[in-house]
């Protein structure tokens, strides 16, 4: 890959758009690393949160969009809370993740799958069904045995059961979700 830093206008424009949406001035960051130092998920990240900003500043968006880090962020907001410049890093990551998803660049498949199933679930029932969620997730990702050890306890103590608790007007929620999607698309277009 060509690592030359010149002529990265398109990537920089993308970075600028994501930054603007998150209300961030990328030049605020002086790379102190307090974000990465406090990030609970940093242990498994391939790009440190601090590095994400530097990569974006230089227009190395490919590295950001391909990274696992943007999928692993738990949105706990510890970074921005301690950041001396109040940089909304979770906002940047969220923007990068949506962009990556749009381009089919999924750094951590399981995370993407889980959110998709979660939302499908909501679309179908209005509420989220933990049994359905976990079941579908295990089946689609192939992690068949994950968390199965806890099932007997849950069944025994009726923590979960076969009956579904749904929103009565689930169809209303479904329509809401469709309208929200349209509004989101419009919002995105407005930004570009």
């Amino acid at each position: 890959m060509d690592r030359c830093l010149n002529n990265r206008e398109n990537a920089k424009a993308l970075a600028a758009r994501i930054a603007k949406d998150a209300g961030v001035d990328l030049q605020d960051c002086y790379q102190c690393g307090k974000c990465s130092g406090g990030c609970p998920m940093a242990g498994d990240m391939d790009l440190m949160p601090r590095q994400i900003i530097q990569y974006m500043r230089l227009g190395l968006m490919g590295d950001v969009l391909r990274s696992k880090s943007i999928w692993l962020c738990a949105a706990c907001h510890t970074c921005v809370d301690r950041c001396p410049h109040d940089i909304n890093l979770p906002g940047l990551i969220e923007g990068a993740r949506m962009e990556a998803k749009r381009r089919g660049m999924i750094g951590v498949k399981e995370v993407d799958k889980f959110t998709d199933i979660f939302l499908e679930n909501v679309k179908m029932f209005g509420k989220n069904q933990e049994v359905v969620l976990e079941g579908l997730y295990n089946v689609t990702t192939g992690h068949l045995m994950q968390d199965m050890v806890n099932v007997p306890h849950m069944l025994k103590h009726k923590i979960v059961g076969p009956e579904l608790n749904t929103t009565k007007q689930a169809a209303e929620v479904k329509e809401l979700m469709l309208r929200a999607q349209a509004a989101e698309n419009e919002r995105k277009r407005g930004e570009q």
């Binding site: 921005v80 509420k127 929620v173 509004a183």
Partner: protein, 294 residues
């Protein structure tokens, strides 16, 4: 005292002990919760990682329903994640009139963003609530050392939650102290437990739980106290797993703060589902109740 009430999807399942203990306390102190009639999922982490408008619209439908009922009450939300999402919506609608109108359009009903969203720590921190609880408590957990775990979403981002402190909050400590239990000073009150990634990125997220339990233990706590069904499930369910996988010997039951209150008001183990905990939770409570009884 009355509130509109948004239980959230896990209150009937994995949050059952939270639900039972809240119901028990309500019955004792006359707190009335009006459940929002046909509520839907708040969208949790999933919605806002995919679609900003959806993340605001799903809670808006619930809040609009609460308004539609005309009770003019603030909305009580037990789950920290639901609380965070709902509060995001309220803040966004209040800050930006266009956004509020847009949300009305999406949910197809009027939404004025009048009601506040409160979590149960905020509710129980009110002096009159504390007084009411204290009046009804006749048992004590005197001497039991507990670590109050607040989690991330009740405190951050502070522009949304308005939390008094994002590193060392004291609200739960003060409430729990009413039971006679002794909250310890420790350092992981608001560190993330990784709940949102425990299913889809377990390898990365498990250590988050362990370091919370480790710090609580290192600071001499005997139990961890939470105020969220997700945090609670996460710590409670995974503690045994961690012990098994890593050969550690953590022995901290994980209670909801409402469970401690309820127990001191006289609730039996069955009443509030102490036996439903993944990590054995009965013995410790029993020991301290006994001690105090002697």
């Amino acid at each position: 005292m009355q509130f509109s009430y948004y239980p959230g999807c896990s209150m009937d399942t994995t949050g059952i002990t939270y639900k039972l203990s809240i119901e028990y306390i309500c019955s004792k102190i006359g707190l009335v919760l009006h459940e929002i009639p046909d509520w839907n999922c708040c969208g949790a982490t999933a919605a806002h990682s995919k679609n900003k408008m959806l993340a605001l619209a799903l809670p808006a439908r619930n809040l609009a329903q609460a308004e539609e009922e005309g009770l003019d009450l603030d909305v009580a939300v037990p789950c920290a994640s639901c609380y965070s999402r709902m509060k995001h919506t309220v803040v966004a609608a209040r800050q930006d009139e266009n956004m509020r109108r847009k949300l009305e359009e999406i949910i197809g009903m009027p939404y004025k963003a009048k009601a506040d969203v409160l979590n149960f720590l905020e509710i129980f921190s009110r002096p009159e609530m504390k007084r009411a609880c204290q009046e009804k408590m006749y048992r004590t957990l005197k001497g039991m050392k507990v670590a109050c775990y607040y989690g991330c979403l009740t405190s951050r981002p502070v522009e949304v939650t308005g939390a008094s402190s994002t590193e060392n909050p004291m609200e739960m400590d003060e409430i729990v102290a009413l039971t006679g239990a002794e909250p310890v000073e420790w350092d992981f009150k608001t560190e993330c437990c990784g709940a949102s990634h425990q299913v889809d990125a377990p390898k990365a997220a498990r250590p988050l739980i362990e370091r919370i339990i480790r710090n609580a233990k290192a600071n001499k706590a005997q139990a961890i106290i939470t105020a969220c069904p997700l945090c609670n499930l996460n710590l409670d369910m995974r503690e045994g797993e961690i012990n098994k996988a890593k050969g550690t010997r953590y022995d901290l039951p994980v209670y909801q703060f409402t469970e401690l209150l309820a127990v001191c008001m006289g609730a039996g183990a069955k009443d509030i589902g102490i036996h439903k905990h993944f990590f054995p939770a009965f013995d410790l409570l029993n020991e301290y109740l006994r001690k105090a009884g002697d």
